[in-house]
């Protein structure tokens, strides 16, 4: 069996160093570092690279766990309504004008994610059933979506409206170290929680009854998943806005290189998600467009055709 983890770590190390050099201003690693280059490196590119790694790892790991939990390769972290909840929080911070201070936007967003998590636990927590849980998540997602649209349509100034819409597209531009300090601990904790859910997810491969006969406790697993996905996805949205397709796409790409147990997929998916987001962000940065391409849009542009090709390939196997 191929071992994806060492390869992914190697690819990450190479990509991180390259990503630091690439951008509007290319930095030549052979020249002595100028003061300007030093500032670009430490204040712009380094935090941005860390943020890409962090957000990508969270989305990739959460996607792998979600697909395992719902036993469906088409599941996406957005299904639980946590990402829309976090986005709604961010929108409210723009709407109220609190987004001006550097810490408030992510905090509002995290609060939105927490409310979505609490709602999920309240609605679905009693039965522990997967179907009710998914429906609750979709309900929260559509409610948050509707409230976001309401906030946009009622936004106090056209400026706030355009700010909200741009932010929702997801990007890593103009982020600094304080976003890294917010997202990193939350994402790492979330990934650790998702790793704890690994055994339960493996058991669930055999269906609900067989999984319970193997000692899986539905409530515990559901709780771990809510907390794990909530922390990773909530932190990701709080610092980068909505970035789709990573959670859906990455587990697909990684799965053939593992033994296909959900638990074996979480860490490689996190690493591959980090790699994908880092590369996509570099691409956005170096493309010669007048205004930098938004990362969320770039990933959807890449992701949708990719996913379509994947579906066409799967179709042969499915029919």
């Amino acid at each position: 069996m191929t071992r994806p983890i060492p390869l992914l770590i190697l690819a990450l190390l190479i990509s991180v160093s390259l990503s630091l050099l690439a951008g509007r201003i290319w930095i030549d690693p052979l020249q002595p570092v100028t003061p300007n280059a030093f500032i670009i490196l430490t204040e712009l590119r380094l935090p941005r690279a860390f943020l890409a790694l962090c957000v990508g790892a969270g989305l990739g790991g959460a996607g792998a766990a979600m697909q395992g939990y719902l036993r469906n390769p088409l599941a996406d972290p957005g299904l639980f309504g946590i990402a829309p909840g976090a986005a709604l929080g961010a929108v409210l911070s723009f709407w109220t004008g609190y987004s001006a201070a550097p810490w408030t936007l992510p905090l509002f967003s995290l609060a939105g994610a927490a409310v979505a998590m609490a709602l999920l636990t309240l609605i679905a927590g009693r039965s522990g059933g997967v179907a009710l849980f998914t429906l609750a998540g979709m309900m929260i997602a559509s409610l948050a979506g509707a409230l976001m649209s309401l906030a946009i349509s009622l936004s106090p100034t056209p400026f706030a409206m355009s700010e909200i819409v741009t932010w929702l597209m997801g990007a890593l531009t103009d982020r600094g170290w304080h976003e890294v300090w917010i997202a990193t601990p939350l994402t790492l904790t979330g990934l650790a929680v998702l790793r704890l859910a690994g055994r339960g997810l493996d058991a669930l491969t055999l269906g609900q009854d067989a999984a319970r006969s193997l000692g899986m406790e539905p409530h515990r697993l559901q709780g771990l998943l809510i907390v794990g996905v909530g922390l990773t996805v909530g932190a990701g949205v709080a610092v980068a806005g909505i970035i789709g397709f990573v959670g859906l796409m990455v587990p697909h790409l990684v799965r053939p290189f593992t033994d296909r147990r959900p638990s074996a997929l979480i860490v490689p998916s996190a690493l591959a998600g980090a790699l994908l987001l880092l590369l996509a962000d570099c691409l956005c940065r170096i493309l010669p467009t007048a205004i930098e391409l938004r990362l969320g849009i770039a990933l959807s542009l890449l992701g949708a055709p990719f996913f379509f090709a994947l579906l066409l390939r799967m179709r042969r196997g499915l029919v």
Binding site: G215, D259, R260
Partner: protein
Amino acid sequence: MLVAQELVVEHRLAGVSANFRSGEVTAICGPNGAGKSTLLACMAGLLAPMSGCVSLDAVQLSSLAPIERARLIGFLPQTPEVAWDLTVETLVALGRLPWRTSLEEDAAAVEAAIETMDLEALRRRVVTSLSGGERARALVGRVLSGNPRWLLADEPLANLDLGHQLALLGALRRLAREQQLGVVLVLHDLAQAMNFADRVLVLADGSLLADGPPEEALAADVIAAGWGVKARWLGEPGAKALATAG
């Protein structure tokens, strides 16, 4: 010994008591809706009865942590599913999930299960590519790798042809004899129950209709009472066939 005491489940079981002994194959038979699967789910600790209790060697099942129970009782559901394209080896290894043992110990248990269920040639095959009979063997292998003391299976013969039915039942009976495994099977085929089980429970309408050696528990009058079918047994012990008349 696995003991059910006065199990009551709304609309399903109306006070069923039974003892199951390890080293024996016990078949649970009965018409559709008699409560067979419900009884099995209670015995496996997956369903809490409204009243009554299940105990394992004098310990109440409900007092065990799920993971402790999982080490003692292996369960094969009626419609087993495998969600991902796992290989047979990986599937069998899932049976080790309740254990926190060393990798060597896990590997040894998986090897033993692969050997017992004759899965060596299939170990690298993907489960979804297997035939029904191979798949059934792999799924039993999954239960066995957890070294349970009990194996509870809900209609394990469904979708198997006659040859594979006999092979699976033979393997389970051998396990019961050689490893003192307690085997409890929900069976629809009364001839298989008659020929392979050491003991048969017959359920009808959530109550116990008969409990005993197969010749008694599946006697013609029990079949008439439980299934409303007139039938008689032909052939010699161990190779009996059921002849039904309109």
